[in-house]
Symmetry: C2
DNA sequence: TTCGATGCAAATAGTTTGCATTCTA
DNA sequence: TAGAATGCAAACTATTTGCATCGAA
């Protein structure tokens, strides 16, 4: 893992732009890295290393995702239990229901207000990035 | 793991009260369970199963902490990477710095306002319980 | 043609499970 | 004394590392 504090985001809105960004950071573009990038850009939610790698070698996938993360292109996060997941930093923060597992992006405006509130209350500059906002969605809340 | 949605908190402010609560739930009080309770009540922060168990058998410690959790006495949470941690539900939610690892309880008032804000923005009833509020404390933020 | 990336194998960390034994209620 | 809890061993999942080989620049 790389410390979040040390990473400055790399925003690339397409696989092509990501390739350029990676090269600019001195990373080489290989077949398996291209596959990972395609999967990351195609994904609508954070995915596990296994899902992103497909048939490719998992150990290399972890190494590559880690490289992408330390370059600020990707973020490593956890949605509930189970394996960690990876998503483009580009895609923002997430909110998830801990009962049914559904998750959705967190609106930027809400994120801003949350950060302000947390800063006032605790002095902490909260990212809501490595861990999502976790709670109960309306449907699951109604069950009880 | 037990689904958070299904658990109703058990508030017990002392080891003795916790013992009563466990018995009320049909759980037996053994030496190792008493040790775990002592450790939980003595702890100022969420601790790992290993730390809480001391010399005792780790597998049993996990089983017991899980039992405590499903009775609503304890909560299982994650502060950054590494092993999961356990704390009394009694003790509330946590805020942690992802750079230096320091963590502190989250004031109840702030928690209430956060929940309201999140609910308005996403419809989600956020607990900030299984995962803490993660961000950068003022000192770590200043380094950059 | 060099050094970074790969892919396999093996190690590691955290956690769970099976099962015979022990002890609480 | 019945059934719950224990303690060891072994399985398991997620992730990392060593190392010889391969390939991008």
């Amino acid at each position: 893992m790389t410390t979040a504090a040390a990473i400055r985001p790399t925003r690339a809105t397409s696989v092509g732009a990501a390739v350029d960004a990676l090269r600019a950071h001195g990373l080489r573009i290989t077949t398996q890295r291209r596959v990972l990038l395609e999967a990351l850009y195609a994904a609508e939610q954070p995915l596990t290393a296994e899902a992103l790698a497909g048939d490719a070698d998992l150990a290399s996938a972890y190494r590559n995702l880690d490289a992408f993360e330390s370059v600020g292109l990707v973020r490593h996060l956890h949605l509930g239990h189970g394996p960690g997941r990876f998503a483009l930093r580009e895609r923002g923060a997430w909110a998830a229901c801990e009962a049914c597992g559904r998750h959705a992006p967190l609106p930027a405006a809400a994120l801003g207000r949350l950060r302000l509130l947390v800063r006032e209350a605790t002095g902490l500059d909260a990212g809501f990035e490595h861990f999502p906002l976790l709670g109960l969605c309306p449907e699951c809340a109604n069950v009880h």
